[in-house]
């Protein structure tokens, strides 16, 4: 399936909580709220989506979809009626992944697209926030660099996810990594105090998701950018890693039409792990030319492993 370049997150089309199976790895119930500014602007939150991949637009935009009779929410084929951009939404240059918190604040991370012209290197480890009420975007938190982005790796932050159980956020950066040195970091952040609670060093990741493991423990699942493997590590109630609990969950190697996909996005639905895989080679090839495949894995309690049930 060709990757639709529109990397938009439809607000409020949250996957409902599937049946909670005992002894299954499973999702954490979503808690995010709609940003109030959407209604203030006069739009219906159900018929809008935030996008970082609108052709010809830098930054983040709010896509307003045409309402259709008989439909309760837009789908990927729904025509766009209007695109709104607050002036501040362009200031960080090109952005990639978006996540939301329980107050309706929106978080986005920068990532250069095709060239470095619109993204400042020193801001590639900065998380941006759109205030839920004012709709204004500003720098939310600049994370320390453990290595600088450079000519052989133009990226900093690549993954971000919000934990609804504890108001924790996980952010992954590959800044400073090169072909022979994996210098990436996963930061665990306390959203309220804006403090780093823990870091996991020397690991390059992109897709991130919090979920519960087969024993009910909260884990961060992360897709590696070098191998196509997905690992997980337990997070305790103090927002710290339980390092010994780190384990390999599965790999995308050899699967799908390409065989060398990396996990760009991970989400859970009930006891299924849904992984969007695409090529990633630490270069600035346009995402529009990268086909994306969605892999669905299911937790097999007897075998204590993930089984691929489909990809498309």
């Amino acid at each position: 399936m060709l990757y639709n370049k529109i990397l938009f997150t439809l607000l409020f089309v949250w996957t409902t909580l599937g049946p909670v199976c005992l002894y299954a790895q499973r999702e954490i119930k979503p808690c995010q709220q709609e940003p109030a500014f959407i209604r203030t602007l006069g739009f219906d939150p159900l018929w809008t989506g935030l996008s970082t991949s609108e052709k010809k637009l830098i930054g983040i935009s709010l896509v307003v979809f045409e309402k259709k009779n008989g439909e309760t929410a837009p789908n990927p084929q729904t025509p766009k009626q209007e695109i709104y951009q607050h002036p501040s939404w362009r200031e960080a240059g090109y952005l990639s992944t978006i996540t939301f918190d329980r107050q309706g604040n929106v978080y986005a991370i920068p990532a250069p697209l095709i060239s470095m012209l619109y993204n400042k290197t020193e801001k590639l480890n900065t998380v941006y926030q759109i205030n839920a009420n004012t709709g204004e975007m500003s720098e939310w938190m600049s994370l320390p660099f453990y290595g600088k982005p450079g000519i052989t790796n133009p990226f900093g932050l690549l993954g971000i996810t919000y934990d609804c159980l504890q108001q924790t956020m996980a952010v992954g950066s590959v800044a400073g990594s090169d072909r022979y040195n994996e210098r990436g970091v996963i930061y665990l952040l306390d959203v309220e105090s804006k403090k780093i609670t823990d870091t996991l060093r020397n690991i390059d990741v992109m897709g991130l998701a919090f979920a519960l493991d087969e024993k009910g423990n909260k884990r961060l699942y992360f897709g590696k950018t070098r191998t196509g493997e997905i690992y997980s590590v337990q997070v305790n109630s103090n927002g710290k890693w339980i390092r010994k609990s780190k384990r390999r969950e599965l790999t995308l190697e050899g699967y799908g039409p390409r065989g060398d996909d990396k996990a760009r996005k991970i989400k859970f639905s009930g006891n299924q792990m849904i992984v969007s895989g695409t090529a990633f080679n630490y270069n600035l090839q346009a995402s529009s030319e990268k086909p994306e495949t969605v892999y669905t894995f299911i937790w097999l309690p007897k075998e204590q492993k993930w089984g691929l049930i489909q990809y498309q």
Binding site: K56, R258, E289
Partner: protein, 590 residues
Amino acid sequence: MQKSGLIFLTILLGFFLSADAQIKNTKNQKSKTKSSVYLNEYRKGLMSPTVKDTQSFIIARKKEIENILKDSLPVKLFREKGGAQAMLAQKIALSDGFFTRYLFDLKTKKPLWNEIFGVYPARPGDIKKGIKALPGTLMRVEMYNYANNLTTIGIVDLFTQKLVSADHYPDMQPDIPQSLIELAEQIAMNAPEVEKALGYKPGNQKPVMTSTKTALNRTKCERSQHLCVAPTFIQGNRALWAIVDLTDNRLVGLRWTNTGEDGAVVTERKLQNETVADCYCEKVNTVEKYGWKMDYLLTASDGLEISNVQFGNQKVLNSAKLVDWHVSYSGTDGFGYSDAVGCPIYSQAAVVATDPPRIADIVEGDSVVGFMIEQKFFSELWPGPCNYSYSQRNFFYKDGRFRITCASIGRGCGNNGTYRPVFRIAFAGNQQNFYEYASTGWKQWNKEGWQLQQPTTQYDSNGFQYKIQTSPSLSYMVAPGNGQFNDGGKGDNAFVYLTKNHLNKDEGNTDLVTIGPCCNTDFQQGPEKFIGSNPESTVNTDLVFWYVPQMKNDDRPGSKYCWAETYYENGVYKIKAYPCFAGPMFVPQK
């Protein structure tokens, strides 16, 4: 000025290592044993003739394909197992219009190359809800379409003699039949590269994976979207993967792995990327030929850079490289891209090198007059819309002339695009002077500046617009493209910039990040930044010559330019390129 005449390029080396090239030194690398070899040129034959097949089994395979394409249904039937039942199942499937939907090109109705890979009793999971049949009467027919890289799976009822369901799966490939396994093995076992890697000719020793007891390993040809398998040879605790392309019937490349490695899959793209990175991004190579000597390196974002160029004992260039490609589309303000070209992995390139540089002879008439070094760059889905391909070609002649060129090979986001590549060419010598031709003779540029080649531009009687004096005894005359080079170029319409080369600060000597935006249509293409508001003296000093040609694309029949499209040949789709080459010729004058 001497015309270059019709240029025939004799491919000396399509492989990863030139016979003339030596590894000069390494940079940024740890000691690493080279374990992968990428052999075949990506999209071979795109801009040069393809090599003729000589192996009998490949000739036979191609003949078979040719004959089947003449049949009313261009499908090779599966005859290996299942007897009469399997034949009946195929006939039933092939008599159904939905199952055969993609046997022919949907527009042109030309036959596409299809093969039924297997016929099996249907499994419970194959039978969709609502389908009722007598026990044991349902059969599953798997067909592969090579042109579209598409699998069609049909379920037929032998009792009612009807197709009960069918599905088409793009980008999917079924398990291959024994005949194709044997063909892949033959291609691998007869490849000289496999023999060289193993140290012996495999002969009767068939490839086998001891762990899986199967001769074939999983692999993918992600870039070509072809059907690929990997016969694997075990040697001690190592395994040699030979990736074979069964759409083109060729060996793609080789890779050693340890047999104990878990889950590591060797694919076409990995082989290509690692070979190019190992041998050309992290190593400076040297070519010495016909009096010329130079280093070359694939950069992270400035294309192929040649450096320390000398002819005989004379230093000619410090370096020449392709900094950026600016692509703008008229009709849509500010829409376009600034593409950097360079290494396929760990780089800032948006369009990447998938093949090694190629060194080829330039033949005019019946004589070899020089050589060319070429690097091509591709987007993954080229020539699909909004995907790009570029070529860099540097020509060096036995008489001391040289030409720095590049081309867009389409296809881009529309037929209203203008390409503006940015060349940075630094001549050797710190007593340089620069002149332009005027009606009164050669006029020196005393300060940094820029100029646009226009219809009113004046040239001397030999077609030269500029003269770069690199020493008191040597100058290079500069002829911009005016359609005279017989490479399809229609004229450069180039911006030229002259800047002082500061030895104490970097103005593009090392890899440059994107130098300018996509869509400026005037002189603001990037090099003007190094001129600034107070242009410096350009008399008797080190200089940099920047050259930004402008090529407008065209998709009209008969005048296609900076364009590429697919066409039909022998049951599969191939690519036709219409490159728009541009770049100046430099002619020595003593």
